[in-house]
Symmetry: C3
Subunit: 298 residues, 3 copies
């Protein structure tokens, strides 16, 4: 589009620079071109980072929502920091603490006693501090185990829309600083997520599981309860992690979770299973026939 500014960062898309109708294209300084182009190139160190910066500058120029909306409910005993935004229909329970510069969008529910750090963003519909899922069976049914703990969310955390983080049975469910949670995630009671771990939408953790720092978790991945995931672990989408992981920097995929090499080999051989099955039977028949021949010859 004429007048537009765009960017080229991934070399895979270099071909498109010859046909773009944009007026200006931000490119990496080392970009090599094979033909002339119709647009003005601005060469920068890192085009992707540069665009992110430009977007941040633009975003900062937009009017910023602040203040507690009169349609929010904030308990009188809650402590709200400076420059906080709390949207309409958001419920902030008794004794909740919210740090400076935190933004809480509409229709969020924060149960009594939870603590939210500074520069936290909580998107619409998220539920922080609902009861952990704990019941003790008896003859007639299940008895509720009261959930007396809280949720602690440290600084610079982002929590997606409709994500649920349950309070602990006793003690705390902790989301450490810098963690980014996408939408519709389930974090059960007594879980802990280490700093700067990133988790994609619809992932879920069962109770008391601890995920380390700087991990990346794919969408719809699931974690059994009472397990430990080491720092910098990479968990694929739809992965099912059912035990402790081995250590720093491991990559896991599949359900139950295994290493990617093994996983992709096994899944590729799925297609050959019927042939393998037939071949084994065929081998048995050929071997039996040969045995008979050898037997007769003797």
């Amino acid at each position: 589009m004429e007048g537009a500014i765009t960017f080229l960062s991934n070399p895979k898309y270099t071909q498109y620079i010859y046909e773009t109708k944009a007026t200006i294209v931000l490119v990496n300084e080392d970009l090599q071109l094979e033909h002339p182009v119709n647009c003005t190139l601005i060469r920068v160190k890192n085009a992707y980072e540069c665009v992110a910066k430009l977007m941040q500058m633009y975003a900062q120029s937009l009017p910023k929502k602040t203040g507690v909306d009169p349609l929010a409910f904030v308990s009188p005993s809650a402590q709200i920091g400076k420059d906080v935004y709390i949207g309409p229909f958001t419920y902030v329970g008794e004794g909740v603490k919210i740090g400076d510069n935190t933004r809480i969008f509409p229709n969020v529910t924060i149960y009594d006693g939870c603590q939210i750090g500074k520069n936290v963003t909580i998107h619409a519909g998220a539920v922080i501090g609902a009861d952990g899922f704990g019941f003790a069976p008896n003859q007639e049914g299940y008895e509720k185990i009261p959930q007396l703990g809280v949720v602690i969310i440290e600084d610079n955390v982002e929590i997606g829309a409709n994500t649920c983080i349950d309070r602990s049975t006793m003690g705390q469910t902790i989301i450490h600083q810098g963690v980014k949670l996408d939408n519709l995630i389930q974090v059960a009671h007594n879980c802990e997520i280490g700093e700067n771990t990133v988790m994609s939408a619809q992932a879920g953790m069962a109770g008391s599981t601890k995920i380390g720092a700087w991990c990346m978790v794919g969408g719809q991945a699931g974690f059994s309860g009472h397990i430990q995931v080491a720092d910098r672990t990479m968990i694929g989408a739809q992965c099912g992690v059912i035990g402790n992981t081995k250590g720093d920097g491991e990559t896991l995929i599949g359900s139950p979770a295994v290493n990617p090499k093994m996983y992709f080999k096994a899944r590729a051989l799925d297609a050959k299973l019927p042939d393998m099955y037939r071949q084994i039977a065929q081998l048995q028949r050929e071997l039996d026939a040969l045995k008979k021949i050898v037997e007769i010859e003797r």
Copy 2:
């Protein structure tokens, strides 16, 4: 139940017509009976469609909710069409446009700048236009990539309860006309869903993925980011689609997604894997023994 009207459409259930206590049964005009029945039969071209029509007529006779509920929040800059219903505790952000005859149930959140078409239904708790999940890593943690785009929902779309559709980073996340999304679905930033595609509950799409028109997606299915799914593709429940699909009308199942024939063969042979494993070892032993005999004989 005496006085009741019911219907028979699926031939599988024909046996029940002899014992029903209903007074009237709608049946397909070509229904063949082997015994007399106690009920009055009304023969119609298509009993199932006829019942759907009757239900629609009944539903239309019910009082219709309209108007913006005084307990909703609608930004002064939002543009609301004719005969719109907006329920209590629903938040409609700045500059949002909502077309005629659209119904939005309670506790929905529509972020600033999104566009909702005509005859759209959005169920309770859905979140339209929350930030896409975009962060750039740096030494200390992750930096937020501002999400400056919007969500566009075209006409005749239905969106289920607690479903989340994220705004795009730049440009638009688009839900084309006639799409039906069930509950608790995740649609990430910059996704596009083609017209009349139907998606079951808890399915999820990662960023920038495009699904074609007239597709059917099963529950809990997941799509990797940046992929393209062709028109009329059928995706099974819990399927994991990790690459572009091949073309019109394909059916996929399993995680990673493969064709159903291959999938069911492989999964059926799972049960025989232990036998296959033992048989291979047994074949090796028998072959070695035979080799020895042949060797000696020579």
Copy 3:
């Protein structure tokens, strides 16, 4: 921590009793110690149950929320029992019935006509009675099948945050007494869940499926539509149940669901598939070579 009271129930953790800094430890009466300990032991019949009881006593001592919050919306035609709590921004539709002692947290939506029993707990953001997902295809797109039924939730049920239970097409979606549903669960139209069944977060049931009594369902498990799950069935996390189960007390795991022994054997052999594949080819080569020798000798 000095002054703290804790408990030891699982023998796996007995080692920690020698190093704990807690002042009092509740233990099972039959606990055998190998060394002296620094804390005071209180021996009880069942330490775990005892702690649950203590927690319940403590929880009962806390101020209890009751009453309909003035920020809730309750339809004038709704019937509300005694000692009910309804939180801010919760919507209770027309003709809804709510039994005694039921607690409904903020931002819940209960659509018209649904019935909620006694001693029920519904956590924040849950949606009860949204339309079932029913559409009939025609040439231009899909026509909505009106969802004219309701949801019935019996006594002593707990429903997690952001869980969705859809109304039936006709008749009722029923959650029987004592059922416990975790967060972010999908229960589709016309489903039925038998008494005292427990279901973990992010599980999902497609339409018209019936789950028996006293079942346990793992997180992210999914059920196809129109199937029956027998009483006391155990369903593993991420399981995909695609047909009727066989009977009382069965355990199922994997997707598609199979028995655990078979599942774990097959998944363990996944790692050996590449070897098996190579070995089959190798066997064929060896056998062919041997055949040639035998042929020549004759």
